[in-house]
């Protein structure tokens, strides 16, 4: 068991990759065995993530050096700096991993029946597992170059999955847009990495953080990193690929793509807090993040209201919710240099933003999966052609209501808890921002009322007379996030104390992050 915990960071990445290449071989022999393999792999990854999370809560940051003679030997004797591939897992990374493991498991279970009619499902699961492995890598890596590699693995697999249903022209268009955006972003990230290497001859984040100076070149690198990750996260005005891609991807993949874009947001926070940290002019960068966040909140939600495609509407809401996270963490970053403000409201703002990632990661997949369930039974995403589905798809409509109330921040659901943290702390920073955040919440509710009214309410339409409830595995796939919503709603204090505050502290304490690798 100890050995398993020691090796768990790499196992979390490697086992999905191993299974990804086993899948095409096994599915040639037996389709059922392939399904079992996929689910078992993801469940095992989830198990590893949870035991690693328990270990990190107890013992702090977990280091794993690949190819060394011992997992914690970060700096070999002849060297002054870390040279190997190092995985560095702190509370923030494992927090993202918990989210990703759970969502990908739910999405895979859901895919078992929702993708049943598609051809080439062995490739689908190969790509899905590659994306799982790549995104885990983004969350766990401790050096910049692997960050780039895993970013590309995740975005290539994601783009191919988004375009998976090649019989639709729009699916290909969405996939192509995603992959072009990702490539441009990743190349800019690589350029920034090159700038770091040119100046410091280092690639490890912790080692770089020790020597970084915020010169002219570092500012260029910061610009490239912030904009590239902002584009991958889908922040206004770099958000336009977001609805295009998410609308056309299969529902389970959309749920996963949302979280993988959150992983890019995590990378941005990691760069700002752990790499630049105290050398940064926090107020400037903090305000850039806050302004982008407020823009996405407002433009995202106002663009969502006129949409008539249900998944497009939800994608715009995802943009708006991402704005909340940027607002919360941006406020925390802006006051990072001011210990008094940080203690009064900065830490709570960061916690609120991070807690919102968790909440968004349960209710947005749920909503996308219900949209997928509607598509599965009606064959359309157009809200104009839906109506009266609440009569026949009762469970789906209940799941939709839960998701709607949660995303709109209606008490007592979990969306309210994190939004309340953001409102309270942001109000002390700047009251206007908090007012905008509340206004956005109201428009969110209005927009989802429209979606619910046109899809589920009203008399039973003749076109959908024979529509039945979706199959069991899709219900289970929707049930996992729904159960998560109920749990987080009832015990927000527990969740915040267990994983959210440690994650926020891990972001704030740059010194701990550096010392874990550099020692002393």
């Amino acid at each position: 068991m100890d050995k398993l915990i020691t090796h768990s960071p790499i196992l979390i990445i490697a086992i999905p990759l191993l299974a990804a290449f086993l899948t095409p071989l096994i599915s040639r022999a037996n389709q059922k065995a392939r399904d079992v393999l996929v689910i078992t792999t993801l469940a095992f990854a989830e198990f590893l993530v949870i035991i690693l999370a328990r270990d990190i809560c107890a013992n702090g940051i977990h280091i794993y050096t690949l190819g060394a003679s011992s997992p914690t030997l970060t700096i070999p004797e002849q060297y002054m700096v870390p040279v190997r591939i190092i995985l560095e897992v702190d509370a923030m990374s494992i927090f993202m991993c918990i989210i990703w493991a759970t969502v990908s498991l739910a999405a895979a279970i859901y895919s078992l029946s929702s993708m049943k009619e598609e051809t080439g499902r062995d490739r689908f699961y190969t790509l899905l597992l590659l994306m799982v492995g790549g995104t885990f890598g983004m969350m766990l890596t401790g050096d910049l170059f692997n960050l780039f590699v895993f970013l590309e693995i995740s975005s290539i697999a994601g783009g191919a999955l988004a375009a998976f249903r090649t019989r639709f022209a729009d699916a290909l268009e969405g996939g192509l847009k995603y992959i072009i955006i990702s490539t441009v972003g990743a190349l800019m990230v690589l350029f920034a990495i090159g700038i770091f290497y040119a100046q410091y001859n280092l690639l490890n984040i912790a080692a770089l953080a020790q020597v970084i100076q915020y010169t002219m070149l570092d500012k260029i690198a910061l610009t490239l990193l912030v904009t590239a990750f902002a584009m991958k996260t889908g922040v206004v005005p770099l958000h336009m690929w977001f609805p295009d891609t998410y609308t056309v991807a299969p529902a389970s993949i959309t749920a996963m793509l949302v979280i993988s874009s959150h992983a890019c947001m995590y990378l941005l926070f990691r760069i700002c807090f752990s790499l630049y940290g105290v050398t940064l002019n926090m107020a400037t960068v903090g305000w850039i993040i806050i302004i982008l966040g407020v823009l996405s909140m407002f433009v995202g939600v106002t663009m969502a209201v006129p949409q008539t495609d249900i998944k497009r509407l939800m994608s715009y809401h995802a943009i708006s919710q991402i704005g909340y996270m940027w607002l919360g963490v941006g406020v925390g970053l802006a006051v990072l240099g001011n210990p008094e403000a940080l203690a009064t409201y900065g830490r709570e703002a960061i916690s609120g933003g991070i807690f919102h990632i968790l909440n968004h990661a349960v209710y947005k997949p749920l909503l996308f999966l219900t949209a997928g369930a509607l598509f599965y039974r009606t064959g359309t995403r157009d809200l104009n052609r839906m109506g009266g589905l609440g009569h026949s798809m009762k469970l789906t409509s209940i799941f939709f209501i839960i998701g709607t109330l949660s995303i709109s921040g209606v008490p007592p659901l979990n969306g309210f808890a994190s939004k309340f943290m953001i409102y309270e702390s942001v109000y002390r920073f700047n009251p206007i921002l908090a007012v905008i955040a509340m206004l956005v919440s109201i428009i969110t509710l209005a927009s989802f009322t429209k979606a619910f009214q046109s899809a589920f309410m009203g008399p039973e339409l003749s076109a959908y007379k024979g529509v039945k409830e979706v199959p069991k595995s899709m219900i289970i796939g929707m049930g996992i996030p729904a159960a998560g919503i109920i749990f987080f709603s009832l015990f927000p204090g527990l969740i915040v104390d267990w994983i959210v505050h440690p994650a926020a502290d891990a972001l704030i304490n740059q010194a701990t992050y550096i010392n874990a690798v550099m020692g002393g």
Partner: protein, 118 residues
């Protein structure tokens, strides 16, 4: 990094390549040309990385008759190689998507072939 004019020429080439690539991506509506622009951008970034790896008087780290103390840590070369591999995969994927898009819409213009906006 060594000082002096000849050593800065590669960086000018990097700037030119990335500039050309951005010009292509921003102005060309043809999807194939756009993918070519991305390829040029990848080449520019790769050239940047390889140029960073140059050390005056250094020797390639191959353990045949090479003096150990002059060997260069081949990190930038490894980065470049990985990035080339990734660029190959990305370009292949994008081109096959463009082929499919052409089959569906009969056009490889990014404005004519789009189905979604607003």
């Amino acid at each position: 990094m060594t000082q002096g004019a000849p050593f800065n020429v590669p960086f000018l080439a990097v700037a030119a390549l990335i500039g050309i690539a951005f010009y292509i991506i921003l102005s060309q509506r043809n999807l194939i040309k756009l993918v070519m622009g991305l390829g040029i951008m990848a080449s520019g970034v790769n050239l940047f990385l390889v140029t960073l790896g140059y050390r005056e008087g250094g020797v390639a780290p191959i353990y045949t008759h090479a003096p150990i103390e002059r060997m260069v840590l081949p990190v930038p070369q490894a980065l470049t190689l990985t990035s080339i591999v990734i660029a190959v995969a990305t370009l292949a994927l994008m081109l096959s998507m463009v082929v499919h898009i052409y089959r569906h819409t009969g056009s490889i213009d990014s404005e004519e072939s789009r189905t979604m906006k607003g």
